[in-house]
Chain length 206, copies 4
């Protein structure tokens, strides 16, 4: 039984190694241009081994997306709970997102593609699980917005729309420092993002 456990640990470890290699390759090349051979090579396994862990290329891709999506969602959810008031929750959500993608830059490319529609449907459709995660994440934030509206600290607009705005601003910021890579001052400070999101870009006597 100890033996079985060691085996299981090894198996899980191998699976993880493959997923990491896959993330790097998918992020660099995109789903279609990535090849199973290259993933296998980077993971230092044979092609055949990939098929011992994942049914096929699409399955590997989905598992990868789902894994990260779960991590991401969990991170945001946790940060929401840590903060008591609405503005604090939103600030925390923004920082959690920025933080997550700073450590998982490669994943942002995949993530953004999902948003932009590629492979959102079609042969490489996401599993229902991931889709639910995504929708649920939006909903959770919308609930926060709704609460803010009730409490009078958030403008009385459709909560989902407000979440979208927040999402859009953060996505743009991440995308900017991803390619732009103006290492110096190009990085959009979270504070500015929050300020703009909270108070708008018009100055003065609002």
């Amino acid at each position: 039984m100890a033996e079985l456990t060691r085996r299981e640990r090894e198996k899980a470890q191998h699976r993880r190694l493959i997923l990491e290699a896959a993330e790097a390759v998918f992020a660099e090349k995109g789903y279609h241009a990535a090849t199973m051979h290259e993933i296998a090579e980077r993971a230092e396994f044979s092609v055949g081994s990939l098929y011992n862990f994942f049914e096929n290329k699409t399955d590997l891709y989905r598992e990868l997306i789902n894994m990260r999506a779960e991590e991401f969602t969990a991170g945001v959810a946790e940060s929401l709970e840590r903060e008591p008031d609405v503005p604090g929750k939103l600030r925390a959500a923004i920082r959690a997102k920025l933080e997550f993608f700073r450590t998982h830059q490669e994943f942002f490319l995949l993530f953004a593609r999902l948003h932009s529609g590629e492979e959102f449907e079609g042969p490489v459709a996401l599993p229902e699980k991931t889709r639910r995660l995504y929708v649920e994440g939006i909903r959770r934030l919308a609930a926060v917005m709704a609460e803010g509206i009730r409490r009078g600290v958030i403008v009385d607009r459709d909560p989902t729309t407000l979440v979208l705005c927040m999402d859009g601003v953060t996505n743009s910021a991440i995308a900017h420092w991803m390619h732009g890579g103006d290492s110096a001052e190009g990085v959009v400070a979270p504070e500015v993002i929050e300020e703009v999101l909270f108070h708008g870009i018009l100055s003065g006597g609002k």
Copy 2:
């Protein structure tokens, strides 16, 4: 000479038909999953004909992107000039963008992919021309922001960052009504976008 002109007109027309078919297929499938065969079929031409107009698949893709990018940039630039003051210019830019992508929904998918990094570099790199257009567009808006800052109507933050925020918000909105397609009330109203962007999501006495 009339004959020559007729031939030329036809050729230009055929080119346009192919570009339209290509836009549909590329948008639906993404660059890699799109096949020349399918584009040809949708355009009601033979595969070989595509190659009478475009050097290869990549070239076709680039020409398409570039064409729409030019249309888009021109539209935004024009709308900027029509408005006298800074808030008016920004509002006009937002509406121009929303309007453009409402009539070119298919293109938004391609456009968003560029933003999200896919095929932004690599074998399907954009032509320098398109890249310049994009950068120039950002710069033009940043100039408007800078002017606003000078005049005290825009908060004193890095103008490019402000532009990114604006871009992000609009992208999200477009993306939302593209897939979400909650035809009814799901469409994010331009007014809300502008309001959020201008005054932020916090209500009351800021």
Copy 3:
């Protein structure tokens, strides 16, 4: 009728222009790699025009080969008749061949390919006409050899074999100055060829 004649002259002229362009392209690229488009371009005609003069690519190729083969055969035959004795005839034949290929270098490449078997059979088979020309040329020279043998000036060996030897030596010489192109002294002098062919490479008291 004068008009018709002018037309005919023009037609013949156009045909010749196409054949010349074809010779250049076929020689440079070989039969398969040559394209009708390139031939048309070099001839300054449209592709369609080529098909007004020749049935298809193969036909164009054959007509070209045949034309030059006739010129060549005629040249050699004439030079044979001009000389009275056997050694003179052979010398004249060698010089005629060298001379012909000096002015039709491009054709040598095609000619050599025929010898080496490519497109000698298969889909691009030579027309019977050309094949006959070739065989007849060999036979004519063999007859000269035979006469020489009868007269005791040529060694008593199979005449065709002797012709082949002669052919081989000249071919090698031409091939050498074609690619080797050692413009300086690399050119094999006709005298040396004749000397070797007539007296062999062994020196002294044979």
Copy 4:
């Protein structure tokens, strides 16, 4: 380890099978008209398998040429060493060549095409390795000629030219029994070739 060796042996064997099939098809059709599909079929492998052994069609072709060129060169070199005196060396070289091409008839077609310039340059250029082999082969024979000249047994002419003559005569002979295929007496006897090369075609008191 035994297992590994078995796999390696099999792989080498498969490679050889493919090369043999390729030789047959290339010889029959020429480089351009040969198709990977047909080679695969004749080798009883799938198309994809060819690409597990060779980068592409050109690579396969080159490897093939190079392999035989090495065999040929080695055979001639060895036969040169076996003989002590110059005429013996030359005779041995001639026989080695005839012998080689008798067992590798198919290769002669490829070999001759190289001589006749096709694909000697251009997209299907030979690898430097093969080219060096060829030049070196000529040089080795030229050295033998030079030695003969020094010793007074060979006529005092440019050694390279003498080698070319020798080459030309043998090529013609081989080409003759290849297509001509007069199975009976058409085969040019090596003795006649040697005799003509050594003593020339003129009879009598030289």
